[in-house]
Amino acid sequence: MNTNINSDNYEAYLLDYMEGNLSPDETKQLKAFVATQGLDWEELTEELPHLKAPQIVFQDKDRLKSKSLSLPKDRSNNKPVLVPLYAKIASAAAAAGLLLTIGLWPEKSMPEINPVAELKPIEAHLTVDETTPCLVPRRTVQMATTPSVQNEPKDYRAPQTEVESVAILSPLKSQSVSIPNDADDLLVSDLTLLRYRMETRQAFVYLPEALSYEKEMPSSLIGKGIYWMTEGRLCTLGDLLNAGLHLAKQEVVRATTDVAMTAYYRAEEQIEETREYWQEKYRE
């Protein structure tokens, strides 16, 4: 019997031999092969160790069960929801994006923008459409997938005399993307968009759009991340950052705890400052 023992499979035969599954003829051939390789038969066939399985309990089985698997229809339903891994990655991306936008992006590198509309309170149910005033002026040029930062001053148009409106995520909605295959590209696109078009205050305009998932899931990675982070229960930027940081955990929190706290407090200050600005403006 020719067993075709070679250097790629002889270890499989050795295992069979040690488990008593080789015929005398096959054993003979195996020994012959081992000898030709200059290997020590006795050493190779010494008793091999086996692992004993420890008793380990997965503590959170209820979270895995099907009653918690579907997304809550009712926003007041605060039951924990099973979050797939890709969603956590998206969440981390969202947290990173927001941290970069709010906490890290140097304000002086952004174009100066004067507020042109009233700052709406951030609410989970609020949606933004073409008629909703917001702080971001409409762009005259169609957004490229990954715009170059160097082109920023040319493409950017300062607000005109009348109030203009735009949905910050509109350019991304035209893209057909999916997670996780395009996650990296999309994240680059998201971050570039955020850097390109938003300054700290304007980041808040982004949130209502990202939360308008009743119509459809947000098509941007950050939008998806925010969706998964909050499941629609988000009310404030502080909640968003906290939720993002909670889910992002190892991906973001370890490296950016200080930055996150700084961003959080800065964000609160910005909200207050902006509110006061518009209250004063309104009184005028």
């Binding site: 270890e11 295992l15 091999l48 160790p49 399985a53 420890p54 895995l64 099973l82 891994l85 190892q250």
Partner: protein, 168 residues
């Protein structure tokens, strides 16, 4: 039409969550990552309940867990946060023999594929053919990996024995 109903799915959770977590944790030695793998695996089973029936759910879970660990978690692994397996062992369960503890620590030095095939064999008692189906390898490749894993662990034990012999 679903091949697995909600009740059967929940039965899967009861029956296999511990085993799947043990497999993932023994391979990754990181609680958070292991929990992620378990969640991911069950989420995928739930999504695929139209095609996966109850009888095949266990091997499907281990298949997803294996590939998740190979494809995704490994790339993101960080050296921090490593936990000892013994810390998670049920104190009321089988006490850890010293040799077994050493073997589990030595597991982390093995390549991922060797480690996972060995765990599937020793923890779950899968046949080589079944492990091949789960990992996408041939039966011979599975045997080669397991033989190499056991040999590496044996050598580890021998090296520790030698150290003890040298001690005055």
């Amino acid at each position: 039409m679903y091949k697995m109903d909600r009740h059967q799915y929940n039965q899967c959770v009861e029956q296999y969550a511990d085993r799947l977590f043990r497999f993932a944790f023994s391979s990754l030695r990181n609680r958070q990552e292991a929990e992620d793998v378990v969640q991911e695996s069950f989420a995928r089973v739930w999504e695929k309940r139209q095609t996966v029936d109850f009888a095949k759910a266990k091997s499907y879970l281990f298949t997803i867990a294996h590939h998740t660990m190979i494809d995704e978690v490994r790339q993101k692994r960080q050296t921090s946060g490593i936990e000892e397996l013994a810390a998670l062992a049920d104190p009321k369960g089988i006490p850890y023999p010293d040799v077994n503890d050493i073997l589990h620590q030595a597991l982390s030095t093995l390549p991922e594929t060797q480690r996972n095939t060995l765990l599937l064999r020793d923890y779950e008692g899968y046949s080589y053919q079944e492990i091949g189906n789960i990992t996408g390898m041939s039966e011979a490749q599975v045997k080669v990996n397991i033989f190499r894993a056991r040999t590496a662990l044996k050598n580890k034990l021998k090296s520790i024995d030698n150290l003890i012999d040298i001690e005055p």
